[in-house]
Amino acid sequence: MATNVAVVPAVKRRIQVGDAVARIVTAAFAGVILLICLVLIFELWIHAAPARNKFGLSFLIGTNWDPVAGDFGALPFIYGTIVTSLIALFISVPLGLGAAIFLSELAPAGLSSGLTFLVELLAAIPSVIYGLMAIFTLEPLMRSYIAPFLRATLGFLPFFQGPSYGVGYLTAGMILSIMTFPFIISVSREALLAVPREQREAALALGATKWESTRQVVVPYARLGIMGSIFLALARALGETMAVTMVIGNTPTIAASLFAPGYSIAAVLANEFTEATGTLHPATLINLALVLFLITIVINGLARLLIIATTGKGTARA
């Protein structure tokens, strides 16, 4: 039974104080996230100072890497990072997009959710295990089959010339492509599922085939979300460490041939950071980490904005 209970002012005040305290406490924890990000940038910036003061921006275009002589140029690493990521996207975008179309447009609901779960498991595999696969299965495969085949068919291009030692840009790019599938598939799938049903029905009613409706109506409608998924995958590929370190060949050179061994920013950090001595070498590596951080932040930021634009429910989850 409803009774009129006048709220005692003291109780009311206690409740208000309790709510205010809860708000402040939880806000403080939320603030920890901001704090981590700010301190991260600050710490990297401070620790990179010796390298920044010595080389400035010319660091980014130097091609020589000689820790013993104290001469450091980042270009081979930046090149390797970008080339391997582009190879990865070249493979994973068409395959991932095709898979996302299948999952959202064709597969019956049960099959689609089962396959999506498997794709998510693919995302859960630790990167060191991808590295293990790359070293012991992809690398021999590359040396004896994939590289000779590409040399025989596309050998007139400068990318597919020269010997293959198994490790190199292409091997790293291929393992990265498998690692980026889940990002492209799950985010693109969500973007495609968000396309209103009427769009599909209108296209079909005009006489389009299922494929024509998908290609000319559904995919263009979801294009921002799909772009977002590609950027997300790109950011992931650029920052990937373990798998790339294990198969890129760890050679700080710039080569046109994709069979050649190279190096990436993340890989040189993994390999040299613990052994770096003095002040300049660690500072240079931290400077490289800062470069990698900035690149991935910009690309991730773009990806998030694109995904917000399509799904429209706040920042989408990855």
């Binding site: 295990i129 012991f136 373990m242 950090l269």
Partner: protein, 283 residues
């Protein structure tokens, strides 16, 4: 001659089949990886792997008992730091939203989630290893917790948002204060989703090696203190795999199998919890 209509039909069938091929190719890679791990890992796995210490190069046998224990130690400590912070941050984002600040935190959390794990490792090195003058399990835990916090925060937020408004209104109408409503009604209602997110988050950081390379480093022996360099399973896999020794490769596969079984069990458990109980009607 093929008519225009037939051509369109053929293109349609061809392209739709291709999308199915794409999907099964990508999913097949999962089974190829699992198959290799089961085959290569399975034949190298024995009881010694779980109980013995690693042996020096050249001596056959030994195990990774210390790395398994070390991983558990590092991850447990990371969870102890990261889960509460992520949980409360998530509660703030879902329940107390002050528009600009919450948007900023949400966006930052997503960016932090995308920061390469190796960069997080270097950050933890500058933050913990340098001032404490030494590699330690603690530094590794801090690095992993930095990765865990944004994952848990965003996930908690998402599941809290799925709790229907009428539950909140019901509690408030009964005279409960806002924080009492959150603590006794909203969070319990979303508890299964929140727990799922926590399990997935912990499983994710348990497989990370890059953040541990410069923080917890490695160790040949059992460790008891969190202030010592500590072996972990992912780092061990990396070091064993890139070594030139056949017997170490065998151990890398075995460790890979153990790691993937742990990660997949966590994933399946999380799915199970979620499937068993969306404990409130979605309204």
């Amino acid at each position: 001659m093929i008519s225009r209509r037939q051509r369109r039909k053929i293109v349609n069938d061809l392209m739709l089949t291709l999308t199915a091929v794409c999907c099964f190719t990508t999913v097949a890679s999962l089974f190829v990886i699992l198959g290799y791990l089961l085959y290569n890992g399975g034949k190298s796995l024995d009881w010694n792997f779980f109980t013995k210490l690693p042996l020096p190069a050249g001596e056959l046998g030994g195990g990774m008992g210390n790395a398994i224990l070390g991983s558990i130690q590092i991850v447990a400590f990371a969870a102890a730091i990261g889960l509460p912070v992520g949980l409360f941050a998530g509660i703030y984002l879902a329940e107390f939203e002050d528009k600009n600040f919450a948007f900023l935190v949400r966006y930052t959390a997503d960016l932090l989630n995308g920061v390469p794990s190796i960069v997080v490792g270097i950050f933890a090195w500058t933050l913990i290893v340098v001032p404490m003058r030494g590699f330690s399990a603690f530094a590794g835990s801090v690095a992993l917790s930095i990765m865990l916090i944004p994952i848990v925060a965003r996930n908690t937020e998402q599941f809290l948002r799925e709790v229907p408004t009428f539950l909140r209104e019901g509690a408030l109408a009964l005279g409960a204060s806002k924080w009492k409503t959150i603590a006794t009604v909203v969070v319990p209602a979303a508890s299964k989703g929140i727990l799922t997110g926590m399990i997935l988050g912990v499983a994710r950081i348990a497989g990370e090696s890059a953040p541990l390379l410069f923080t917890s480093l490695n160790n040949q022996f059992w460790t008891s203190s969190i202030n010592q360099p500590t072996a972990s399973l992912p780092v061990m896999i990396f070091l064993r795999a890139v070594s030139p020794y056949e017997d170490w490769h065998r151990q890398a596969w075995a460790a890979g199998l153990v790691l993937i079984v742990m990660v997949f069990l966590a994933n399946i458990a999380a799915r199970y919890i979620l499937a068993r109980g969306v404990s409130v009607p979605r309204g």
